[in-house]
C-alpha cells in the first residue's frame, strides 16, 4: 500500500519529558533529523549550592516542627526571627564560598537575596507594628554597609601620626557611622583623632563629640520597660542639647565636627551636603533621615520616607530590581514581594522559605480596620494571600527536588508540608516516575513507599529493579532479581525467573535466597518453590535422607511442574548414590516418577544428555532397590531382631517377583 505524502508543512513539536521540567524536546528543522533538547538547569547542582540546599531543608523541617508545636497559635516572632537568621547565615555562607572560588556573579546574586530577605524579615517577621522600626533598620544597614573592616586597620597601623589621606578615610568612616546611627562606634573612632599629637582644640572637640554621640538615646524593642513616650522625651532632650552646643559655637573652627553636629541636630542642609559628597546609598540616606528626624516611625509608615528619599536623590526612575522588592515590602504587599523575587532571580529557594516563615508566623498583625485607623497605617498585611502562594512554591520546589538523583528524599519534607495531605498524591506520582539506579536506592524507595502505603508503587519499584537485574544477566543477578520479583508479588515474573535459574543456570540456588524463599511462601504457585528450596538446601548440605523425603513429598503432592521434572532429577543425582537415604516406598515412588518423566519428556524439549542422566538414575534406583531387598533378606536370614516393623516387607517381596 504505497502512500504518497506531498504536503511538507513544518510542524514544530514539543514534548515535556516525564519529569517536570527536566527536558523539552522539539524538532529543530523542517528537513533534518535533528532534535533539540532543552533541559532546565537545576540550581541545586551548582558548586556549594548543594550543601546550602541541604542546610536550608533542615531549617525548614525545624520550622514545620515549631508550627505544629504551637498550632493553632502562630509561632512567636522571636522563634521565627531566629529561624530566619539561620536561613540567612546559610545564604551568607554560600556567598563567601562563591566569592572564594571567584564566582562573583553568583556571590552577588545570593548577597542581594540576603539583603532583601533581611529587609523582609524586618517588615514581616521581627518588627512590631506598634513600635519603631528604626532599630531593625540600623542593624540591617550596619550589616550591609559597614566600612570599618576596610578602613580601621590602616588607621590602627599608622598609630598616632595619621597621614592626611588616612585622616580623610577615618572621617568618612566616622560619618558613615553617624549616618547609620551607630553613634557609639563613631564615638570610639574619634579617639584616633584625639591623640597626643592633636591640638588642644581638636582634643576638646573630640571629647565633646564623644559625649554627644554616646548619649544618643536608642530605642530597644526587646526592652519591655522602655516606653515610647519615654524614649521620645529622651530623644528630644538629647537633640536639644546638640542644638545648644552647636549654637554656642562648641565646634567652631572645625568644619567636620560642625557638620556632624548639624547632622545630629537633624539639619536638612547637613543631610544634603552628605549626599552631595556622594557618600551614601538611598538606603543609608533613608535611615539617616529616620535616625535624626523621625526615630519613632512604625513599619507601616516607612514607605512614605522611602519615596521621599528616592525623590530627593533623584532615583525614582533609576531603581534596581531589589529596590522594587523593598518598596513592595514596605507596602506589606507580600504577594508582590514573592512574585518579584521569583521573577527577577528565577530562584525558588527564597520565595519558598520566606513565605513559609511568614505562614508559620501567622502574623497577628492581620490588622483589623479599627486598628488600621487608629494607627493611621497606609499599609496592611493580607495574610490570606500567603497560603496559596506557599502551596505553589512547595509544590514546585518539592517536585524539583524529588526528581533529583540524590536529593530526592528532601523533596518529601516539602511536599509533606502541603496542607490537608495534598502532598501525598504528588509524592505518589513522583514515585511512579522514579527509576532507581541502584538496589540501595530501590530499598530506600520501598521503605518510604511503605510508610505512605503506596502498594502499587512498591510493586512497580520492585518490578523495575528486578527487570534491570535480569537485563544485567548472570546467575547471582537472577537470584537477586527473584527476591525482588517475590517482593513485587508478580507471579508471572517470579515463575519466569525461577525457570531461568533452573534452565539457564546450574540450578544452584544460594543459601540466602533459600532462606528468603522459606520465609516467603506467597501462594500456591510458589508452594513448589518453597518445597524445592527445602529439597535443594538438604542436597547442598549433604543431608541425603532429608533430600529424598522432600523430593518424594513433592512428587506425591504433584507440585513439580512437568517442564522442570527432568531437570530436577538430572541435577540432583548425588542423593541417589547412597542407598541408606531411602526408606519405605521411596524407591517405588521415585521409580514411577522417573519412568513417567522419561515417557512424557519425549516431546519438544528433547535433550538427550538429560535423558541419559535420568536413565542412569533409573538404574541407580534399581540398584538401590536390590540393595534394600538384600538388606531385608540378610536381616531375616540372620534372625536379627527386626528393628523396624517394615510394613512394606511384603510389598518388597512382591515387587521382587515382578522384578
Amino acid at each position: 500500500m504505497k502512500a504518497e505524502y506531498k504536503s511538507k508543512v513544518f510542524r514544530p513539536l514539543v514534548t515535556l519529558a516525564p519529569r517536570s521540567l527536566a527536558a523539552v524536546l522539539s524538532n529543530s528543522t523542517p528537513s533534518g533529523g535533528e532534535l533539540t533538547t532543552w533541559s532546565r538547569q537545576f540550581f541545586v547542582d551548582a558548586p556549594f549550592v548543594r550543601n546550602f540546599v541541604v542546610a536550608g531543608a533542615e531549617v525548614f523541617a525545624t520550622v514545620q516542627k515549631e508550627y505544629k508545636a504551637h498550632y493553632p497559635d502562630p509561632v512567636p516572632p522571636k522563634i521565627v526571627t531566629s529561624l530566619s537568621r539561620m536561613y540567612r547565615t546559610f545564604l551568607l555562607e554560600l556567598c563567601q564560598n562563591l566569592k572564594a572560588t571567584g564566582d562573583l556573579t553568583s556571590a552577588d546574586l545570593y548577597s542581594n537575596l540576603d539583603f532583601v530577605w533581611n529587609f523582609c524579615e524586618i517588615m514581616f517577621l521581627s518588627s512590631h507594628p506598634d513600635f519603631p522600626v528604626l532599630p531593625y533598620l540600623v542593624d540591617w544597614i550596619h550589616l550591609n554597609f559597614d566600612l570599618t573592616s576596610e578602613i580601621l586597620p590602616k588607621v590602627v597601623a599608622e598609630g598616632s601620626e595619621l597621614e592626611e589621606e588616612t585622616t580623610l578615610e577615618l572621617w568618612n568612616l566616622i560619618y558613615s557611622h553617624v549616618f547609620h546611627g551607630t553613634t557609639r562606634e563613631a564615638a570610639r573612632l574619634l579617639s584616633y583623632l584625639g591623640g597626643e599629637s592633636a591640638s588642644s582644640t581638636t582634643q576638646r572637640h573630640v571629647a565633646l563629640m564623644e559625649e554627644l554621640l554616646s548619649k544618643r538615646p536608642e530605642f530597644r524593642p526587646e526592652d519591655a520597660a522602655s516606653s515610647l513616650t519615654e524614649f521620645e522625651a529622651l530623644f528630644t532632650a538629647w537633640q536639644e542639647e546638640c542644638v545648644n552646643r552647636l549654637e554656642n559655637g562648641a565646634f567652631s573652627g572645625s568644619p567636620n565636627f560642625t557638620l556632624v553636629c548639624k547632622i545630629l541636630c537633624g539639619d536638612d542642609e547637613a543631610f544634603a551636603s552628605a549626599v552631595a559628597r556622594g557618600l551614601i546609598t538611598w538606603y543609608e540616606y533613608m535611615v539617616l533621615l529616620l535616625n535624626y528626624k523621625y526615630p519613632t516611625i512604625r513599619p507601616a509608615q516607612l514607605k512614605a520616607y522611602a519615596v521621599r528619599t528616592l525623590q530627593q536623590l533623584d532615583l525614582v526612575d533609576k531603581l534596581e530590581a531589589r529596590d522594587a522588592i523593598l518598596l513592595h515590602a514596605m507596602d506589606l504587599d507580600v504577594v508582590s514581594v514573592l512574585r518579584e523575587i521569583t521573577a527577577v532571580w528565577d530562584n525558588p529557594w527564597v520565595a519558598l522559605h520566606l513565605s513559609d516563615l511568614i505562614f508559620a508566623c501567622g502574623r497577628s498583625s492581620i490588622s483589623t480596620s479599627a486598628q488600621k485607623q487608629r494607627r493611621g497605617d497606609d499599609a496592611s498585611f493580607d495574610f490570606a494571600c500567603v497560603v496559596p502562594l506557599r502551596n505553589d512554591f512547595l509544590l514546585e520546589y518539592g517536585t524539583t527536588l524529588m526528581e533529583h538523583e540524590t536529593l530526592w528524599q528532601m523533596g518529601l519534607c516539602y511536599l509533606d508540608a502541603l496542607p490537608d495531605g495534598k502532598g501525598r498524591p504528588v509524592i505518589r506520582t513522583c514515585f511512579q516516575h522514579r527509576n532507581p539506579f541502584s538496589e540501595q536506592e530501590a530499598q530506600k524507595l520501598v521503605q518510604i513507599a511503605e510508610r505512605y502505603g503506596f502498594g502499587d508503587e512498591i510493586k512497580g519499584i520492585c518490578r523495575q529493579i528486578c527487570l534491570s537485574k535480569l537485563k544485567r544477566g548472570g546467575s547471582s543477578q537472577a537470584q537477586n532479581a527473584l527476591l525482588w520479583a517475590i517482593k513485587a508479588g508478580d507471579e508471572a515474573l517470579t515463575t519466569r525467573i525461577v525457570d531461568k535459574i533452573l534452565f539457564e543456570g546450574d540450578a544452584q540456588i544460594d543459601v540466602a535466597l533459600l532462606d528468603a524463599l522459606l520465609a516467603n511462601v506467597l501462594d500456591a504457585s510458589l508452594a513448589f518453590l518453597h518445597e524445592f528450596s527445602i529439597f535443594r538446601r538438604a542436597v547442598s548440605e549433604g543431608r541425603g535422607r532429608d533430600g529424598v523425603v522432600s523430593l518424594c513429598s513433592m512428587i506425591k503432592r504433584g507440585v513439580i511442574p512437568k517442564r522442570l521434572a527432568i531437570k530436577i532429577l538430572s541435577k540432583n543425582e548425588s542423593i541417589f548414590d547412597d542407598g541408606s537415604n531411602f526408606e519405605g516406598d521411596d524407591v517405588t515412588t521415585l521409580m514411577e516418577y522417573v519412568q513417567r518423566t522419561l515417557v512424557t519428556q519425549r516431546g519438544d524439549d528433547y535433550n538427550s544428555e538429560e535423558e541419559r542422566q535420568v536413565t542412569d538414575l533409573n538404574r541407580k534406583l534399581i540398584k538401590i532397590r536390590a540393595y534394600r531387598i538384600m538388606c531385608e533378606f540378610r536381616r531375616k536370614a540372620t534372625g536379627a531382631e527386626e528393628e523396624e516393623e517394615d510394613s512394606n516387607t511384603e510389598f518388597v517381596y512382591g515387587e521382587a517377583d515382578d522384578y
Partner: protein, 324 residues
C-alpha cells in the same frame, strides 16, 4: 526567565521528525519521522548521553505519533502513520549463542481498521488495562484493548467530521478530594474517558458506558481545526484540565471546576502569532508546553487564581544561550 541547557540529538532520520517521546522513566527516547521510520535510543540520565538502539521499519508512510505504554506492560511502543496503520511494537531480548542479550524490536500487532491516515495514538492509564485510542482522518476513533491474550478493537464511527487529529486519555483517579487526606489512594474511577480534537473545530469527550463508547460532552470554542488535545495528569493538587490548540492560533484550557469530569469551562491561554500544533503537560499537571508556528516553543504556568503566565520562551532562551 528559566535558563535551559540546549543540546541537539542527531537522530539519523532522513526527513522531518514528527514526534519524539521519552518513556515513562525517562530512560528511552523514540522518534518518528516523515522518512517512515522509528528510531529508538537509550538515554543515560547521569551523563546526559544517548545511544542509538534500533530502527523500526514497517510503516509505509510518514509516522505521525508515538506512545510508550506503562512499564508494567513490558516495553511496548505504539505508532500511527499516514499509511492508515497502527503498529504496536514490543521489545524482546534476543539471546545470542554466547549468552549475550540483545534487545530487539518486533511488531506485536498491526491494526489496519482505518480507511485513512491515523493521526494520533494514546495509551490509556495502566489501571484500565492495556488499552489504546487512535484517531484518524477518516473521522473515526478506534479503541484497542488487549484482553485474554488478544487484541480487540471498538470503533467510534463519525467521531469528528472531516477527521480526528488528536486523542488524549483522562487520568485514572477520580477528581481528587481536596479535603482531609485519606490514607487510601484517590478512588480509581470506574468511568473511562478520553478526549479528542478534530477537523470539525471541536473537542469531544467520550465515555465508556455498557462497554460502548458514547459522546459525553462537546466543547466548542475553536474556530478552526483542533490540532492537539492534552488532558492534564491530576496529581491531586489542581483541578482537572484539558488543553486544546488549534489552527485558529489559540490555546484553550478547559477547566473542570466542579470536579465532576463533566462540566468544562474554557479559559483562553493565549492567542499566538501562528498555528499552534502541539500542547503537552508536565507530569504534575501545572506546566503546559506549547509549540507552534515557526518553531516557537513556550512553557506556561498558572499561579493560583491567576491568569496563565509564560515562564519560558524558546526565542528568549536562545538569547540567553548566547550570553553564556
Amino acid at each position: 526567565m528559566a535558563t535551559f541547557n540546549v543540546a541537539t540529538i542527531d537522530t539519523g532520520h532522513e526527513d522531518m521528525i514528527h514526534d519524539a517521546q521519552m518513556d515513562f522513566l525517562g530512560t528511552k527516547l523514540a522518534t518518528c519521522s516523515c522518512d517512515k521510520n522509528i528510531r529508538i535510543f537509550d538515554l543515560n540520565v547521569q551523563t546526559g548521553t544517548h545511544t542509538f538502539v534500533a530502527e523500526l521499519k514497517g510503516h509505509e508512510g510518514p509516522v505521525w505519533q508515538l506512545a510508550w505504554a506503562h512499564p508494567r506492560f513490558d516495553t511496548l511502543l505504539a505508532s500511527c502513520s499516514y499509511d492508515r496503520r497502527v503498529i504496536i511494537w514490543k521489545e524482546v531480548l534476543d539471546v545470542k549463542h554466547d549468552g549475550r542479550k540483545i534487545p530487539k524490536w518486533e511488531p506485536m500487532y498491526t491494526y489496519e481498521g482505518h480507511e485513512s491516515s491515523v493521526n494520533s495514538v494514546c495509551w490509556a492509564p495502566p489501571e484500565w488495562g492495556l488499552m489504546l485510542a487512535a484517531g484518524s482522518s477518516d473521522g473515526t476513533i478506534s479503541v484497542l484493548s488487549y484482553v485474554n491474550d488478544r487484541w480487540e478493537a471498538k470503533k467510534i464511527p463519525s467521531a469528528h467530521t472531516l477527521g480526528c487529529n488528536a486523542v488524549t486519555w483522562s487520568p485514572p483517579t477520580g477528581p481528587s478530594s481536596m479535603s482531609a487526606g485519606d490514607p487510601g489512594s484517590n478512588a480509581i474511577t470506574a468511568v473511562k474517558r478520553f478526549a479528542s480534537g478534530g477537523c470539525d473545530n471541536l473537542v469531544k469527550i467520550w465515555k465508556e458506558e455498557n462497554e460502548e463508547w458514547t459522546e459525553e460532552t462537546k466543547l466548542e470554542g475553536h474556530s478552526d481545526w483542533v490540532r492537539d488535545v492534552a488532558w492534564s495528569p491530576s496529581a491531586g493538587l489542581t483541578k482537572m484540565k484539558i488543553a486544546s490548540c488549534s489552527q485558529d492560533r489559540r490555546v484553550i484550557v478547559w477547566n473542570n471546576r466542579e470536579s465532576d469530569g463533566v462540566s468544562w469551562t474554557p479559559e483562553l491561554l493565549h492567542v499566538f502569532d501562528d498555528v499552534v500544533w502541539h500542547v503537552s503537560w508536565n507530569f504534575v499537571g501545572d506546566v503546559l508546553a506549547v509549540s507552534g508556528g515557526d518553531n516557537q516553543v513556550s512553557l506556561w504556568k498558572k499561579r493560583e487564581s491567576e491568569s496563565w503566565e509564560c515562564i519560558s520562551d524558546s526565542s528568549k532562551s536562545q538569547q540567553q544561550q548566547h550570553h553564556h
